[in-house]
Amino acid sequence: MSTRNKEILKIRNLYVNFYTYAGVVKAINGVDLDVYEGEVISLVGETGCGKTVTSRAITRLIPPPGRIEKGEILFRKNSEWIDLLKLDENELRKIRGDEIAYIFQDPSSALDPLYTTGYQIAETMVVHDKADWDEAWKKAIELLRETMIPAPEERVKTYPHELSGGMKQRVVISIALSNDPKILIADEPTTNVDVTIQAELIDLLKELQKKKGTTIMLITHNMGLVAEIADRVAVMYAGNVVEIADIWTIFEEPLHPYTKGLLACVPDPLKKIERLEPIPGTIPNLIYPPPGCRFHPRCPKAMDICKKQRSPRVEIAPGHFVECWLFVSEEERKEAEKSG
């Protein structure tokens, strides 16, 4: 189980705002998350939950009008913990693309149409001083082979537009893996791709992860993918992490009302479903978010305190965390109500 491994990333008390013309969007509202080495952790949630913003905040890829207000992002580098939010830009750039790498949704925009695929893979290594051009070129061919692209010796010389969507995504994966990153962050890597290609890519990620022991953070709204590849799941809603559990628990014994609601509206093709149960209401406006628990307006079990205060995080069982007043003990709740 992944909890026996050491942590490699710790996000603490993260707050991110976006200062737009319409107002201040309080996108990330106090996120705490631990990532263990070698695991596949999935951040799930719907639009506006903040999973993408959180993943980008890790290496400060938040452009204005976004701003990381406060928090710590601790990364274990060579047995020492460093706060990525406090590093200067040059130091951070050394880590981005090297120890923490990204894969995004649209491979076409990740690849430069003017350079060959081989060049782009090799470039990542050379820029991070991992190899000179000759070695990098050779390694690029190896990486393409590992991502199961046929005839890699010829493919290194091709341009992105000559490749299909699935192939492009494999090239993007090769680039991301070229420096043997500690953490690979995949943000909806298969949303634009056909089901069959999606299956291939996920199988590929699973294999590479087994072989190299890379930690993968998978951001997705597709619960099927999560079921296939994730070890642990963190469910996010409107800028908060509402539940964290291992893969089996989250599907079999979800606790948070939002998690339950989410799972109830995902159509499982193997079951005979009479009716899907949608979650009533809509995602809140994050410029004027509801007070207290942001889910309370839609929650079937909302209590008074939910409307006033955000619940603390409770560890129900080892590794299973929920942020919900339903699971906070009576005394603690009364304490909180008093201090108001």
């Binding site: 089901v195 291939e200 093709p269 899907l276």
Partner: protein, 321 residues
């Protein structure tokens, strides 16, 4: 016994691609499709990108003119319709598109959008405002939304407006082209439920096009799998999932991630090889040949026709012929 509402016979849609001076290639988006949709049912059409399912949806409604073949609606061929008769067909057969952001005119209020159809078809709706409110309420929206503009609504709400627009002319048949693909899971669930309720309430017939197998299964009575311009299997939804016959359907189901870790991690997937062929110069035999794990010599030489191999099950594969 169910009555056929639409019968499609060997429908083809080819798009010319000019190479240069005088030489044309044709993208065979729909390359000979034959099927029937029965009154009151929902036929799901599943395929990946390049399968031609979107072109099929549009051609069936004559939003695009077919290259060959026939479409018979309620006993009459729609290809020969003109003038008033064509207009009447367009009232009866509606479409809901994938992208709610671009299918609603941003310069029209919801009131105008919903009334546009009845106005064009000279339908007497009584008091226009009450009518529009009734339509909005049918799709779960409210009276106060009536004079707003599309941009003021979320994706899910826009899709509801699009559905209300389609319903405003009292149609019989609706083609839904990926109606919920752009939406969040919970919004999708509520729209799908609404579509099911509306179907029962108004006795509608649906053609539901999507790449999402799980959603198609939830909505459809029968499913047709489409591969590079042709149907490869048509079957009852439950039976297709229990026992897919065509190797492509098997591949799709195999690739489908199931939101249940116990099941999805236990199964071993057959390695998926290759990519679909180019829809311009198709090989002579079965189009799935290069990727099929059961390929036989005949598969390369001759294309298998789509035939009924057991009751209510059509498959185009030499394994069954």
């Amino acid at each position: 016994m169910a009555k056929p509402l639409i019968e499609v016979k060997d429908l083809k849609k080819y798009f010319p691609v000019r190479r240069f001076l005088l030489s044309k290639d044709y993208v065979k988006a729909v390359d000979g499709v034959t099927f029937t949709i029965y009154k009151g049912e929902c036929l799901g059409v599943v395929g990946e990108s390049g399968s031609g399912k979107t072109t099929l949806g549009r051609t069936i409604l004559r939003l695009i003119e077919p290259t060959a073949g026939d479409i018979i609606y309620d006993g009459k061929s729609i290809l020969k319709l003109k003038g008033e008769e064509l207009k009447e067909f367009r009232r009866k057969a509606q479409m809901v598109f994938q992208d709610p952001f671009s299918s609603l005119d941003p310069r029209m209020t919801i009131f105008d959008i919903i009334l546009e159809g009845p106005r064009i078809h000279n339908i007497d709706v009584g008091d226009p405002e009450e009518f529009v409110v009734k339509m909005l309420e049918t799709v779960g929206l409210k009276r106060e939304h009536i004079y707003r503009y599309p941009h003021e609504f979320s994706g899910g709400q826009k899709q509801r407006i699009a559905i209300a627009r389609a319903l405003a002319v009292n149609p019989e048949f609706i083609v839904l082209d990926e109606p919920t693909s752009a939406l969040d899971v919970s919004v999708q669930a509520s729209i799908l439920n609404m579509l099911k309720d509306l179907q029962k309430k108004f006795g509608l017939t649906y053609m539901f096009i999507s790449h999402d197998l799980a959603v198609v299964k939830y909505m459809s009575n029968r499913i047709a799998t489409m591969y590079v311009g042709k149907f490869v299997e048509i079957a009852n939804s439950d039976k297709m999932f229990e026992e897919p016959l065509h190797p492509y359907t098997m591949m799709l189901l195999d690739a489908l991630p199931i939101p249940n870790p116990k099941i999805t991690r236990a199964k071993k997937r057959k390695e998926i090889v290759g990519e679909p062929p180019s829809p311009i110069h198709l090989p002579p035999g079965c189009r799935f040949y290069p990727r099929c794990p059961y390929a036989m010599p005949i598969c390369k030489a001759r294309e298998p026709p789509l035939v009924e191999v057991e009751k209510d099950r059509e498959v185009a594969c030499w394994l069954y012929q």
